[in-house]
Amino acid sequence: MAAGRLRPSLLLVAVAVLAVIMLLPVGYVVAIGFQVGWPTLAPLVFRPKVGELLVNTVLLVVLGVPVTILLGVGGAWLVERTTLPGRRVWAVLLAAPLAVPAFVSSYGWVSAIPSIGGIGGGLLVATLAYYPLVYLPAVATLRRLDPALEESARALGLGPWRVFARVVLPQLRLAGWGGGLVVALHLLSEYGAFALIRFDTFTTAIVVQYQSTFAGPAASALGIVLAGLCLILLLGESVTRGTARYSRVGSGAARAAVQQRLGRATPLALAGLVVLLVAAIGVPAASLLRWLSIGDPWSQRELPGAIIQTAGLAATGAVVTVLVALPIAWLTVRHPGRLPRFLEGSSYLASSLPAIIIALGLVTITIRVVPALYQSVFTVVLAYVIIFLPRALVSLRAGIAQAPVSLEEAARSLGRSPLVARAQVTLPLILPALGAGAALVGLGAANELTATLLLAPSGTRTLATQFWSASSSVAYSDAAPYALLLIALSLPSVAILFLQTRKRVR
């Protein structure tokens, strides 16, 4: 091996250590569960309250996921495959609710209709906030779908509706199920949106338990049940994804697909979209504007401080997350193999768990093992790393893949030592990916509520926590400026996501 070259084995050890750190919090929660023992946990798990939470949570998933799939796939089909007037505008508007954090959307509804709540309210708020998670992959799939398949089906004598049912729909299965499972994970982990309308799920109950018993065994017990539910969903996702391959076989540029004429159904489709978007964007926006116009919410003393603290925490989280993601992405791209893939998968697993479980694990671990780190900046940043690592990984993997090792070798054959070759050739090439990854993490961290509430040092005021304390004490007008800033912070990452989705595969 040439001198100065980082050995894969060293890198492997570093990445393994990182994966263990990522899994530590949830592992600790589970370990405590075992330590406390089943006799102590059983009465905490099997009690009427938990049964009620289970019913609520399961109903939310069982009813909410099909609705989001229907809205997401239906919307994608309308804007991609029909003659709907104004398709380009609708395409953007349908993705827009993603820029409104679910708890802000919930605030819009509850401040407009204070009586909203229960399973109906939970479903309304959650499906409106999360259907874009199905819509975007469905749009991407439809764009990549080879129109020749549909044309062949037409040539074989199938009418337009049968083509949709027998050719297009099966192709959308992956996007639909994949998006649906992502929605289910979000429904399980959402705290703010449901707490505001007083709808109890496992996640809200864990926070209540945490606040009353301070990380006692009851919170851990609920956390274990919640983690179990999430693991079932994750397993389901990997099984559905399986080895199915739906991408276009063969090369050449894809042609534009044939558009389905809507005819007399056009007014119906337009009306449906208007109702959907009024509910998803109109109501929260109207509430927000109304509360902004009452009093003088922009003159709150805490506002500038919250902006500065949010920026500081989010930037730190972004830099540290990218630094953690770099060796993992490097290893999986440059030295692919079973072990690197397993380590990367473990990191993804940790990130897929609800923020509340990660936060609970970090609280428990810091209190019991290193009290000095309890509610410290270090712990919040660690939580951000665990929660947002996939955003940085996706970006970095793509970036490193675009800087192939052959370029470094070319530089070495032209007289550059391995380190200099890396600095002069690879670094400039992955710099945009580093920046994009850091931006995505930073924007996410700036909007993070659950973990920040539990883990930030006392006295920390971020936009999300300030919004939270104002809106949960019904000071809706005070909450409005924070809500607006949170939406503004979400817009760039939603825009990036949207543009990636629309990219045609050539």
Binding site: E409, R412, L414, R416
Partner: protein, 346 residues
């Protein structure tokens, strides 16, 4: 002098032997092509010479100085060995000019040298300000060669540099590259899986199979006298017929032929190598020795299948003719052979 000498090179990757006891000498200023199927170890050989990897055993020396082998190993960036990768590996964030001057020392008359090598590979000055993705595939390959030649390396290694180009571009790019190499007088090794490319490239061709060099020598000599029937088939269209040897001649179903080269190891069944260019098929002969069983047009060639004698194996002959309409299945024909054959154990 920059004669490159490989002695007993052995390399394992992932526990599998990739190169076994490879020995090869490339004289100073000459061009050698290494040809083999994919997985034969030819790219690994180049990576060892470039210094991207180290051999398990054996020695690589250049102009008498040891590059690799034993205790010492010169790192890639101090070897003075240029390398052109399969896809060119141009730095996408640098312009053509910045790419070419990448390997030049800061003190050198860089602009002059860039202009010099750009002219050598026929890259016009208008292209110097462009980025690699704005160039065609052939231009990218020529820039990659210019970049490798700019620091005046003693050896240039070309790893399948033409394989990504389409047929027309491949021939013209190859001519331009050979011309540039000739003018610069640099010692060159080309690795390829294309037999015609290997045979037309240079002074020496080395055939590599299963990690071993099975034969090396001047292209014309190697093509004339392949040491095994396998090499003969690898190098080009080959017709191998069962034969008996007596009185210094080879006797096949097509008659008796003088023996050009004899590679019989022992007594037993033998076969004779005939190239299609040696054959004529006469369908009007009054002394037929074969029956045409099938005719298939393949571009400029006819693929004529004949059966020789009674119950003979069908033999497929790639045949060049100016009158393809004269050949058809069912005809009796006389197939005759001009010149000598090479004899191998069957």
């Amino acid at each position: 002098m920059s004669t490159l000498v490989l002695t007993g090179i052995t390399k394992h990757l992932g526990g599998q032997p990739v190169l076994q006891n490879v020995t090869l000498t490339v004289p100073s200023g000459s061009r050698t092509s290494v040809v083999g199927a994919s997985g034969s170890g030819k790219s690994t050989l180049l990576r060892l010479i470039a210094g991207f990897d180290a051999p398990d055993a054996g020695q690589i020396s250049l102009g008498g100085a040891v590059l690799a082998g034993g205790a010492s190993s010169v790192p890639a960036h101090r070897r003075g060995v240029g390398y052109v990768a399969q896809d060119g590996a141009l730095f996408p964030h640098l312009t053509v000019e910045q790419n070419i001057r990448f390997g030049l020392p800061r003190t050198a008359q860089r602009s002059a040298r860039v202009a010099e090598v750009a002219a050598l590979v026929a890259i016009g000055s208008t292209l110097l300000g462009r980025y690699p993705h704005e160039l065609s595939g052939g231009q990218q390959q020529r820039v990659a060669l210019a970049r490798a030649l700019a620091p005046e390396p003693e050896v240039v290694l070309l790893d399948e540099p033409f394989s990504a180009l389409d047929t027309g571009l491949r021939a013209s790019t190859r001519r331009a590259v050979i011309e540039a190499l000739e003018q610069s007088g640099v010692t060159t090794i080309l690795v390829t899986h294309d037999q015609d490319e290997a045979l037309s490239f240079g002074d020496q061709v080395a055939i590599i199979a299963g990690g071993r060099i099975s034969q090396a020598g001047p292209p014309a000599a190697v093509f004339d006298d392949p040491h095994t029937a396998g090499i003969a088939e690898f190098l080009g269209d080959a017709i191998l017929l069962a034969c008996e040897v007596s009185d210094g001649a080879a006797h096949t179903a097509l008659g008796s032929h003088p023996i050009r080269h004899d590679h019989r190891a022992s007594s037993g069944p033998h076969q004779a190598l005939i190239r299609p260019a040696q054959l004529t098929i006469d369908v009007e002969s009054t002394f037929p020795n074969a029956t045409v069983t099938g005719v298939q047009a393949v571009g400029s060639k006819l693929d004529v299948t004949v059966s020789l004698g009674a119950g003979g194996e069908p033999v497929s002959i790639p045949y060049v003719t100016s009158a393809p309409e004269r050949y058809g299945a069912g005809q009796n024909a006389r197939v005759s052979v001009a010149g000598g054959v090479v004899v191998y154990p069957a």
